[in-house]
């Protein structure tokens, strides 16, 4: 009996919590498929009487959804390119090139991770205003080309695990550092670079404050700002708001299902933070 309990109990606990964690999703999708009258019914039913797929069509028409999505994806793509270019270079410098000063650089990289963004925000805004970059994607993407501290840290952790013998052999054959980086290290880094690309995408996709501050022209809005304004204008139309939220969540859910192992990897890299 005691043995049986030890087998069953974890399942019961896990299942209970899984239901709690999943239910808001179910409720999101079901609300998005109900009629306005059905939403306000008590007691509520989980399933809609008839599935109102038209809610989605109406939500998409109520705001320029496609445009917001395209704007968002453009920003995401540019950020991925920027991070993939710069973060591995810096990580390579502080983990594989034996130079004095690399520890100082690493310390500062980590220290900037605790620096609140608000401290730089206002002067940055002034710089971008003076450069005439407000209302363009520049303020939201330029930073990526200088490497995010988190990605530099992540790639450094990964590179520390790569045996030095690999590049030593190439060095004896007369290969330059740049050549070793491009032909040996980059291919090895691929799985870690996938993690960088994924997180870079996710961060840009969900960013709200950046676009809110820098994009005034509604034609340039990203999906986060677009959805927020939709909420302000159509606050009471819950079914449409939930339909719009569902559409917004879909790319993230897809990315998560296809890239799960990369998400897990960042967790294990962070535990190296000792």
């Amino acid at each position: 009996m005691a043995v049986k309990l030890r087998v069953i109990l974890p399942h019961v606990v896990l299942l209970l919590f899984a239901v709690i964690f999943l239910f808001p999703f179910v409720w999101l999708v079901m609300t998005s498929l109900k009629t306005p009258e059905e939403i306000l019914k008590f007691p509520p039913s989980i399933l809609p009487e008839t599935f109102q797929w038209s809610n989605y069509k109406e939500a998409l028409q109520a705001i320029p959804f496609t445009r917001y999505m395209m704007n968002t994806f453009l920003i995401c793509m540019v950020n991925i390119i920027g991070q993939l270019f710069s973060a591995p270079l810096v990580a390579y410098s502080i983990s594989r090139i034996p130079w004095r000063g690399r520890n100082i650089i690493f310390t500062i990289v980590v220290a900037t991770m605790i620096l609140p963004a608000q401290v730089q925000m206002i002067p940055q805004y002034i710089i971008f205003t003076k450069l005439g970059w407000v209302n363009t994607i520049m303020p939201l993407t330029i930073g990526a080309f200088f490497g995010a501290p988190f990605f530099i840290f992540l790639l450094r952790q990964f590179l520390l695990g790569v045996p030095t013998e690999l590049s030593e052999a190439a060095k004896i054959d007369g290969a330059s550092e740049l050549r070793i980086y491009v032909q040996i290290i980059m291919p090895i880094l691929k799985p870690a670079l996938a993690t960088v690309a994924l997180f870079s995408f996710v961060w840009s996709y969900v960013d709200f404050m950046g676009p809110l501050i820098y994009l005034n022209d509604s034609a340039k809005w990203t999906i986060t700002v677009g959805l927020q304004s939709f909420q302000q204008d159509h606050g009471a139309q819950w079914e449409k708001l939930m339909a719009a939220s569902t559409i917004m969540a879909i790319p993230m859910i897809l990315i998560y299902f296809f890239g799960q192992k990369y998400f897990m990897k960042s967790g294990s890299a962070l535990t190296g933070f000792k």
Binding site: F17, I122, P123, M248, M264
Partner: protein, 317 residues
């Protein structure tokens, strides 16, 4: 300087060898993207905001030097204290709650049962939902009349708070929402848990230690460095809460012309700062707010790191 002490330890006191110099150039070249970005987008703005904090600046006319006036005004401003109080609530009540729940979930996700990977997927899923979307979902879930949470509470015969409309419940609403997203913290704990040697548990089990004892005497100490890391990151995150508040409060200003929901109960430090800078265009004043924020975060991190020696155990035998 670091360089000279390092040189003393090596063979040449006189200077760098050709090889060393070569590596410095190479290292700097590879690190240059970050160095340039750091100087242009961190160092310069960092000191820029210190300067601005001593001026009056509305973006249109040039900054006017006012000395410490902004700081004096801040310490006499009710909104500053309100936002600070709200933020402390999130940092010192919500963050520990969320961390504890993530740790417990991580322990659950470390169970050796069939299908555990499916559970891991489910618990992490809410963390990938954009905050704007999850905040909208929770606004609906916590709707006082038709929200799922209150319908459930009513069915059970319990009181049903007005959640986002009642200033006493707005912050608990936010905690509820952040608990739903606690899977991301759990995942980091889980990775750390998997690094704890099994022998420790086996030895304790042989000695007859129960689950609770093993949790406190093995799991928590083994995870303490990562608990410290998550605590620091959580506190820093709490000081920057913005989107959640903006969406849950509907992005609207209340009767007093301020963001932050009913009775400014969701007016957090970063929300107040955003409002002063980008709604009221008081760039100097907001810069002073940013510097106070920086000092608070620095102090908290420093105190945590200093006192952590008592409870954080670093690996090794």
């Amino acid at each position: 300087m670091r360089v000279s002490t390092a040189a003393n330890q090596r063979k040449h006191v006189s200077g760098w060898s050709r090889k060393e110099r070569h590596y410095v150039y190479l290292g700097l070249a590879f690190a240059s993207p970050w160095i340039i970005g750091f100087l242009a987008f961190t160092v310069y703005p960092f000191f820029g905001s210190l300067y601005l904090s001593l001026t009056e600046y509305d973006l249109f006319s040039p900054p006017k030097w006012v000395g410490l006036q902004n700081y004096e005004q801040i310490f006499a401003d009710d909104r500053f204290y309100k936002s600070l109080g709200n933020t402390f609530f999130m940092a010192f009540i919500s963050v520990p709650i969320t961390l504890t729940v993530s740790l417990l979930i991580a322990v659950m996700l470390n169970f050796k049962v069939k299908g555990i990977n499916y559970y891991r997927t489910i618990f992490y899923l809410p963390s990938v939902i954009p905050i704007v979307a999850s905040a909208l979902l929770w606004t609906w879930m916590l709707n006082p009349d038709f929200g799922l949470v209150n319908m459930a509470l009513r069915t059970l015969g319990l009181t049903d708070p007005a959640w986002l409309l009642d200033p006493r419940y707005t912050k608990p609403s936010l905690i509820l929402m952040s608990l739903w997203g606690s899977g991301s913290g759990a995942l980091i704990f889980l990775a750390a848990l998997q690094g704890v040697p099994r022998q420790y548990y086996e030895a304790a089990q042989v000695d007859g230690a129960n689950w609770w004892y093993r949790f406190w005497k093995i799991t928590v100490p083994a995870l303490s460095p990562i608990i410290l890391f998550q605590l620091i990151m959580g506190l820093i995150g709490a000081f920057q809460i913005f989107t959640e508040s903006y969406i849950l409060a509907g992005g609207k200003v209340d009767g007093s012309g301020s963001l932050g929901g009913p009775e400014q109960s969701l007016l957090f430090y970063a929300v107040n700062l955003y409002q002063e800078a980008f709604v009221f265009l008081k760039m100097g004043y907001a810069s002073a707010l940013a510097w106070i924020l920086f000092i608070i975060v620095l102090l908290i991190t420093f105190i945590l790191l200093k006192t952590s020696g008592r409870w954080v155990y670093y690996g090794g035998e």
